[in-house]
């Protein structure tokens, strides 16, 4: 069942097109993450879904009802903001109650509801405090609590964890995930943090310059990016790119990337390859591993730099005139300048047309 439908959504500020023909259908219970660099329009899209921004053209449907011209309060949504946006002059309890009171719900119903949600978020002991007396993590819990008590059809999160420190962010991320699993409410979550996107999303939407680049499950977007932008935007360290040309010989396809020829026999082409086509071959660092001898394709390369991250060693290898990065286990420490044999996991290859930057 479709809970939210965004059709042909456009947003212009004067001649500046912030959103271009966005189409998206979200099923009930999905956790959709909008991911993209700043200025890509992801927050604008969220604000439009919330009704805080008007769209220039297109339509928004929530729960099968056209809400394009409906006020935010009547859209059956709740929103959590990056700056928490708690009402500073009210206690935590009043913050959570206020929206319901405005809707004319009787206090006898509001009280137990607020207390139940507060227990759920472990903030029941803070109910009588002011937001200024809380830590950042606690404030964000209150903001989430304020959204929860409304029991909306769709939750909207606008970079809710960006103001928290790294450790707190990780634990809040886990909690939001648990919360979604237990409630099963549809959610849209905006972030520029790819780790948040990968871990939280049931489906993620990668955006750039007001356009959707790719929609899919996190692992699908990660392993089968549709274009160079998505391939490059996801992953840390980023994907290795090798420029080259395709060669078709006797029914076999391979990519000539200068220093080596990579066989593409097992690669599932989306479009038919042509001989001499300029391509970019992409391979993630974790698919470049020290050789165990059994790989179908291995190269002997010279390490030029090693970065220790604790869990792995990132090894920069010279390959022709270019450099590629391999993610080695932490107990595998090559010596600088001494060639090592690395195996390439060719099942994880991505090949892009150099001109259109699309996956082929």
């Amino acid at each position: 069942m479709i809970d939210l439908r965004i059709s042909n959504c456009n947003k212009n500020y004067g001649s500046l097109r912030v959103l271009k023909d966005i189409n998206l259908e979200i099923e009930r219970g999905e956790f959709i993450v909008l991911l993209g660099p700043s200025g890509c329009g992801k927050s604008t899209l969220l604000h439009i879904v919330a009704g805080l921004d008007r769209l220039s053209a297109g339509a928004i449907e929530i729960g099968g009802r056209d809400v394009t011209d409906v006020e935010p309060k009547d859209r059956d949504i709740a929103m959590v903001f990056q700056s928490y946006a708690l009402y500073p002059t009210m206690s935590v309890r009043s913050n959570m109650e206020f929206g319901l009171r405005m809707r004319g719900k009787p206090m006898s119903e509001i009280r137990p509801l607020v207390e139940e949600k507060a227990r759920m978020l472990h903030i029941d002991h803070l109910l009588d405090r002011r937001p200024s007396q809380l830590s950042g993590g606690q404030r964000q819990r209150v903001a989430i609590g304020r959204a929860l008590v409304r029991d909306p059809k769709v939750f909207l999160f606008d970079e809710p964890l960006s103001n928290l420190d790294a450790k707190l962010r990780a634990s809040m991320r886990t909690e939001i995930k648990k919360l979604h699993q237990s409630l099963g409410t549809t959610a849209i979550y905006v972030t520029h943090d790819q780790l948040e996107a990968m871990t939280l999303a049931t489906r993620m939407v990668v955006m750039k310059a007001g356009e959707i680049q790719q929609v899919g499950k996190p692992e699908e977007v990660y392993h089968r990016p549709v274009n160079l932008f998505v391939a490059d935007f996801l992953g840390n360290p980023g994907m290795n790119f090798m420029k080259g040309h395709l060669r078709l010989e006797g029914g076999r396809v391979s990519a000539d990337v200068g220093a080596a020829t990579i066989p593409l026999d097992g690669y599932a082409f989306d479009t038919a390859p042509t001989d001499g086509q300029a391509v970019v071959v992409g391979l993630r660092p974790e698919s470049v591993q020290p050789s165990t001898g059994g790989e179908p394709f291995a190269l002997t390369l010279k390490p030029t730099l090693i970065e220790h991250t604790g869990s792995d060693n990132l090894v920069v290898l010279a390959m022709g005139g270019e450099e590629i990065v391999g993610k080695f286990p932490s107990d595998m420490l090559p010596t600088l300048g001494e060639p090592v044999t690395v195996g390439f996991d060719l099942s994880r290859l991505s090949v892009f047309d150099a001109q259109t930057e699309r996956r082929i």
């Binding site: 309060k73 929103m79 903001f81 990056q82 946006a85 009402y87 002059t89 009210m90 304020r146 409304r150």
Partner: protein
């Protein structure tokens, strides 16, 4: 010597102004307090010590009572009118209106004028034979009457209106800055929560402006106690002494009635009034900072 200078450069740089403040501010405050214990007439004479007699006399002078009561009456009305209308104008200007800076300038403009000019402008406007009343008569409203300046019971309103016209800009600017400082997300959260705008103002935004209110009240209160030139230019204390303020009383006693002792006593009482306003404010401010 060099090392001394290097270490104490800030104190050395400040010392001339500190010395000036010590002499011309605190020195003369002390001097005034000393004069208030004498029976000085046209010139200060310390051989006529009378203790607190001038204060006793001050509080038995009917004109002082008029002036002192007027200060609270004028002050209360002025605070109420200026704060409520200043806040209202700030809220209206904050609605992302067109030509915002134009309206801002209009409201701020009177602030650039001295109280004397303000007083004279309003004296003309309120003059029954020159100003608004004549204009209304010419427009056909023959029964229109605006005799604030000549009626002892309403003359205080003339002061309030002129002072508001002058002070509104500052109050509006302070409130507008406060309103602009409020996180946009609060408004968005309120919109999603379905809270009507006036309720957001009453329950959330205006309480958030509490520090601005404090600043505004203190600034306006000080200008109330100091108010002098406006009264002199607009009403000169009249009709009779009905629009007298303590500062006018003080000036009159010192320079026209040659009663320096009584004048000094009234100055000390005014200082006490100012301190009564300032000390709680400074206390709250420093406690919040700590």
């Amino acid at each position: 010597m060099r090392r001394f200078l290097q270490r104490h450069v800030s104190q050395v740089a400040l010392s001339p102004s500190l010395a000036l403040i010590a002499i011309f501010l605190y020195g003369f405050i002390a001097y005034t307090a000393a004069v208030s214990t004498t029976n000085s007439k046209a010139f200060p004479r310390f051989d006529t010590f009378v203790g607190l007699e001038q204060y006793w006399r001050l509080f038995h002078t009917p004109r002082w009572h008029v002036a002192f009561t007027n200060m609270f009456l004028f002050g209360g009305l002025f605070l109420l009118v200026t704060i409520s209308l200043g806040l209202l104008i700030a809220i209206l200007i904050d609605q992302r209106i067109r030509a915002e800076s134009f309206f801002r300038s209009i409201v701020m403009y009177p602030m650039a004028m001295s109280f004397v000019v303000t007083g004279i402008i309003w004296q003309w406007l309120l003059n029954p034979t020159l100003g608004i009343e004549v204009m209304m008569h010419q427009l056909g409203f023959e029964s229109f009457r605006l005799d604030w300046l000549t009626n002892p019971d309403t003359v205080i309103w003339a002061l309030v209106v002129a002072a508001f016209w002058q002070g509104c800009g500052l109050v509006m600017a302070l409130f507008l800055a406060g309103l602009r400082g409020i996180d946009e997300d609060i408004w968005k959260a309120a919109a999603v929560d379905g809270i009507p705008a006036w309720r957001v103002y009453v329950f959330i935004v205006i309480p958030m402006l509490a520090p601005v209110f404090l600043t505004v009240v203190v600034l306006l209160s000080l200008s109330i106690v100091r108010a002098f030139d406006l009264v002199v230019a607009l009403t000169n204390g009249g009709p009779g002494v009905s629009s007298d303020l303590p500062s006018v009383f003080m000036f009159d006693m010192a320079f026209r009635r040659t009663n320096l002792g009584l004048s000094a006593a009234s100055a000390v009482v005014m200082l006490g009034t100012v301190l009564a306003i300032l000390i709680p404010y400074l206390y709250i401010e420093t406690r919040e900072r700590a």
